[in-house]
Amino acid sequence: MKDYCAQITAIVWKDVLSELKTKELFASMFIFAVLSILIFIFSINLSIVNANDVGPGVLWVAFIFS
């Protein structure tokens, strides 16, 4: 189990290090985040629905499309 966790940590370390150098994913993540926020702002009228009711759905849609 200790070895398994060390290997997972090594993979995460490698991916983060690679991303910090290239910043390839940061740009696309930023655009996706902005687009997601804009789409939900225009599609959900929070004066009609409760934010607590639609929040989980918004999160799941963002997770699935990310």
Binding site: D3, A6, Q7, T9, W13, K21
Partner: protein, 244 residues
Amino acid sequence: MSENGLPSPNHILFVKALRKTFGLIQALRGIDLELFKGEFLTIFGPNGAGKTTLIKILSSLAKPTSGTAYVAGFNIEDANPQMRSQIGVISHASYLYDNLSALENLVFYAKMHCLENPEERAAKVIDEMGLKARMYDPVGVFSRGMTQRLSIARAIINDPAILFLDEPYTGLDQHASENLKERLMVLRDAKRSIVMITHDIPRGLEMCDRVAIMSSGKKAFMGHINDIDKDGFEDFYYKTIANS
């Protein structure tokens, strides 16, 4: 072959009746092969002979259709982490990350093998491969020859019992080939078991203890280097392929 059909403690490689089919295509048609610890085997053969398929199966990257094989005492059907830790593979792909430096790449692999002092071990094998001056440079800017040497460093970082080299000289110029040969000579002289596939007959012959020729998925020839006429081997190679 051993009498009971099982490898002896001196065997590093023991292959019996190994077959592999892809649909109707028979890539391997009953390969028998044995190699002892510390020996260097060179496998020659034309494209499509099944050499790479054999290496993939022996390094547990593919499963055979039938037959048995033992690598470093492990049955390849088990394909467990203990078995894989005994195998180093250098193939057409380098399995290195272009964005990371040579040192970062090898530290990653050292950590994946759960080695102690990964930074120290990575720096040591980089030095052994003559890349110390470039260890902080990203792999993406390396020449083909340097990438190939770093691939060898990657493959030996956990000190495996056997190394599989699939056409290591492909794409290298004369100088890089010579450099790579020197590195492989060091590994051979350290009595590391090595199986190399190559089309380069002179280079293949000058390093090996045993020679095999594969053709159409079969082992067409296998012999000890001392029993081979090196000068006439090229003619022998083409005749063997033609007759198989």
